[in-house]
Symmetry: C2
Subunit: 646 residues, 2 copies
């Protein structure tokens, strides 16, 4: 995962034993050698085999590159590779080091235990990405993400061939980059939580090693309160300003009529251009309120003098000025779709968060488009939801070939209002891997069962990259309950799913709210529930297996009996008290599911009205509490439907 463009399975398997080794042939450089070393380490972790650097067994993977490719990862660079695995060895060929990196990620996924040993299946793969821009946006403004968190997520990105790290570095809630030129930016704007310039260089090098571009975002003219904490003169209304602690859309905005602002930004971008080698700089541009602009007579006079009709025009003027500053530094502009304006050059990348309509509109106007609509990981949607969302669907499906070519990809977005450095991995992974497949693999790869089966494997594999999306659950649940309630809490946790946290309903949360609720411990989507659902569906198949029925019954009994074990522990626990209705509802769902299973197994038709009554009751149980929903109710409903079927 992502599924390659072309896969031809061969006969037999290549043994991966303790003396399997890795060899570079032809072009080589430090980046390639380091990558081969990481591949060796990664497979050693996956398998438990030692795989020492000096192994000399007859079986090996030969990595053969034609050249380095661009010095830094670059939009549109050649990422193709070919991989041949046979029983006598494996060979990876790529025109560039980046292509070799992609092929190595594929090879790591091919290695598995085949019953007798570790091995990789014989196969011929030819592969290249469908879209050249496959990103992950991480909001480090609202919640601080230390360098090690960033790095382990870059490692995981590389494992699924994502190639753009969109680093959201400034927000109302925090300014996260050290500026030596304007030190009050981080001094007053970050609560001490910012990346030093050494950190930035380290992250950029780390990403480069993995074939990942780093596109920094400096959000302006709105979402910029943290800039004003140290430099209130940049704002459109007098200060003082302080870092924002709550969430939402706030009035402070840069003053588009002030030459001091442009002079400041010019120097600032000069400094940043030296840190970020990528050609693109993201200037944000989203959700600008006109409050300050309307209230400022100087800005209104400026508009009148320049024939600017409205705030939209003011922002267009601002964007154009900023774009010109960046162009002088050799940089192109990316921004949220709102910045679209005829005045901007056509190589501007517009990031659509409002849907394929706005994406289609952008590329029709000649801009480059990247889709983020419905790739928001913070909405708690299942992987299948994101997977179904093709950049070239909807209005974009109607584009002509030239326009479609300007849809250059997509970006998963991780906004962090309700996510801390501790919980962020589990919000990103494994779902971002499904988006990675959507953006890399052919459009026709859409089988969701296959996707989920492979996603499970990828999710386990990502454990070895260092992301804690799975390992965090255990200590986070341990924090909430001790044995014996801990076991019952696990049963409940496995039956829950994260509901979208609505910004409006969640106004009581701030940047300083603890992220230690049950909600924060569970994965957005429960793998246990998904497996159960598959077993329930299998009951309806031509030959239902007794093992499926037994497994389903075991789970339903556990649900039914769980509240009796868990409820007392919930009552005495300030962190879990809010979850009591979910626990009670789980037991009800278990009881209803058991009724249904009895009817199914006895081949008996339920009495009249039973189906509607049970269905209604289960719909009621599905109501969200504490920002979670009871996925178990959905599965019980499946059983009720199955029992009621004639």
């Amino acid at each position: 995962m992502p599924m390659p463009q072309k896969t031809v399975w061969g006969q037999g398997r290549l043994l991966i034993g303790a003396d399997f080794n890795f060899r570079v042939e032809g072009y080589t450089d430090a980046r390639l050698r380091a990558a081969v070393g990481r591949l060796r380490g990664r497979i050693a972790l996956q398998t438990g085999l030692p795989l020492l650097a000096d192994a000399t067994g007859p079986l090996q993977l030969v990595v053969s590159c034609r050249g380095a490719g661009p010095k830094n990862p670059t939009l549109g660079e050649d990422e193709s590779y070919a991989l041949d695995v046979s029983t006598s060895g494996a060979r990876l060929s790529a025109p560039t080091v980046t292509g070799a990196l992609r092929g190595m990620a594929t090879f790591a996924q091919l290695v598995s235990a085949d019953g007798k040993s570790y091995s990789a299946p014989a196969v011929h793969i030819e592969d290249r990405p469908r879209f050249p821009w496959r990103g992950l946006m991480l909001d480090c403004g609202r919640h601080w993400m230390p360098v090690d968190v960033v790095e382990r997520n870059l490692e995981a990105m590389a494992a699924v061939k994502l190639n753009v790290f969109h680093w959201h570095l400034t927000e109302d809630q925090g300014f996260r980059v050290e500026s030596k030129r304007f030190p009050r930016l981080q001094e007053k704007g970050s609560d001490g939580q910012y990346y030093t310039q050494d950190d930035i260089r380290r992250v950029v090098a780390f990403a480069r090693d993995r074939g990942i571009r780093v596109v920094p975002e400096f959000d302006m003219p709105g979402h910029a309160t943290s800039w004003f904490a140290g430099y209130p003169e940049l704002a459109s209304a007098p200060g003082p300003y302080g870092v924002e602690r709550s969430f939402g859309i706030f009035p402070p905005a840069m003053d588009p009529s002030s030459e001091r602002v442009y002079s400041f930004l010019d120097k600032f971008f000069g400094e940043m251009a030296g840190l970020f080698p990528d050609r693109y700089v993201h200037i944000g541009g989203d959700e600008v309120l006109e409050t300050q602009w309307k209230a400022n007579p100087k800005i209104q006079a400026f508009s009148a003098a320049h024939g600017i009709k409205d705030s939209r025009g003011l922002q267009a003027y601002f964007n154009k000025r900023v774009q010109e500053l960046l162009a002088r530094r050799g940089k192109k502009v990316m921004g949220w779709a709102e910045i679209q304006d005829p005045g901007l050059p056509r190589d501007t990348v517009l990031q659509s968060w409002r849907g394929q309509d706005s994406l289609a509109d952008s590329v029709k106007k000649g801009f480059l488009g990247v889709l983020s609509f419905d790739y928001y990981l913070n909405y708690g949607k299942p992987a299948s939801f994101h997977y179904r969302n093709d950049p070239l669907s909807g209005a974009a499906a109607e584009l002509d070939a030239g326009e479609k070519a300007r849809v250059i990809g997509g970006e998963a977005c991780m906004w962090t209002e309700f996510v801390s450095a501790q919980t962020v991995d589990s919000r990103i992974w494994p779902r971002a891997a499904a988006i990675a497949e959507r953006l890399w693999s052919p459009a026709g790869v859409t089988d969701e069962d296959s996707m989920y089966a492979r996603l499970d494997a990828v999710s386990r594999g990502l454990d070895w990259t260092g992301v804690r999306h799975r390992s965090y659950e255990r200590p986070a649940l341990d924090r909430l309950a001790r044995a014996p309630a801990r076991e019952a809490l696990q049963v409940l946790a496995d039956a829950l799913e994260v509901d979208r946290i609505d910004l409006l309903r969640a106004q009581h949360f701030t940047t300083r709210s603890p992220r230690n609720r049950l909600l924060d411990a569970i994965p957005p989507e429960s793998p246990a529930l998904r497996r159960l659902e598959a077993s329930v569906r299998a009951l309806s198949s031509a030959r239902p297996s007794p093992e499926d029925a037994a497994g389903v019954r075991r789970t339903l009994v556990a649900w039914r009996d769980n509240d009796a074990r868990l409820a007392p522990a919930l009552r005495d626990n300030f962190l879990l008290a809010e979850d009591a209705p979910l626990s009670a509802n789980l037991s009800k769902a278990g009881a209803l599911g058991l009724e249904a299973l009895d009817f199914i197994e006895e081949g008996q038709a339920p009495p009249a009205g039973w189906r509607d009554r049970s269905g209604a009751e289960l719909a009621e149980l599905d109501k969200p509490y504490a920002e979670m929903t009871l996925g178990a109710a959905r599965v019980a409903r499946l059983l009720v439907e199955r029992a009621a079927r004639p």
Copy 2:
């Protein structure tokens, strides 16, 4: 844990909320400030509270030191502290920074959820260690342990107040330190796996920050094959030599008759003295074979010329020479008990791995003694076994006060024949915490139930220090089986215990053997079994709880039914096939346990002969397979005994 010397509980609790803060009063330095920052971070992780550095709430912990104490952690330095917690705040007072570090470790453990909020109980604690030498020896020679593994274990050591990191750096299987003077040591002796001098400095500084001494061990004259790979002239027989891959005791030994050896060691120690600030250097001295010495006429002639009677005398001569070299560098000697000899100075520390007899003998002769006998973590013994082992028990209990004072502590030993960097955390923790308590707390603290209850909490808490003793289990089991067998594998894993891997029976293992068996995934001691045992014992209490009985039945049923689910997956899996007998036996133990539980619950006496028959069968089920034993059989036996009781 470790239990303080004096604890007086007060009334009420100190609230720990998001605005709780930490303040240093009086003496301060970088080490103390860093430690306070780590404490804040640690409690933030434990609780999920943000606990920002600039919090200004009214409730705080004030840390008050009288002075820095010695520049580097030093044997016998003052580690005492006093900690007062009341509803209005907490105050930690210590004469030294090291004392403050110990007190902060205590404070972190006091914080827990009390039903309404996070808080710490009101308490007055006065504390100091019983023994000044509380160590962990880590063998980085047989298996390489990267710097991050070492560092996270140092972090965990600090959490339980261990204060000596005994770094076993050289072995037949690897020479792990960079020498700039003699670079062939690491070039030929390490397979590229060694600590650079920068690494060493970093680890030493990391340890110092946590109040931990670093005592390096350079094992000689035996266990030194890896030295000879690059410098065969140091050996007592001509080479060539290569790094050893298998395990055992090997003939190569340094030539005690060669002045070149002493001149080499003199320069080598000169270099090492600059890296390791501690006053003590460990020179090993264990398990020296006389094979090479006997076969070398030059060495025999040397012995005759110097009136040396035997190989023991030769080693004494060697040790004395080495000790003199070290003394010139300002270093004192530590060694395994074999090096004991009247020629050595009385501040030599002898590490007893053969029992309290040899420990008593060493201190009677005037040396300093450290106990490691029965603190070998690689033996797979339960925490209670180590906990019962007091340095001043057995022969050492008979010592007079002056002799007892020369028993300065103990060291947990982690030998790594069968342990890799991936699995080592789970072999060390949490059991080393029980040893830490034995060495810190008053001798009278011996309640094992209390120890285990606290050990469970400490084990969970150690998750937040970064050691992976618990988080490793999940990916390691994932590697072995997929759903649905994965669930059944967990049931089996929870019912198993690690048997001691006997070096003689395990001659087929080498440094390159994969550590990816079920054995490597499970903890040495199963917390699930321990909880079950407690429930079984509760059945015999005056008022057995229905919840205990229900929990026991649930587990026994799961055992009984488990093999049917698991056996097919074991057959098709080269990594698990060896575990098939254990799985079959678990189901038998479950069935026998259920029989017993039925008798107990029905208040019915079992038929004649049942008890003996069942007991014999369970004893048979307890046999080790694949280096594991079925702890479940022990618990089932408890039930049989209970059922048979009139």
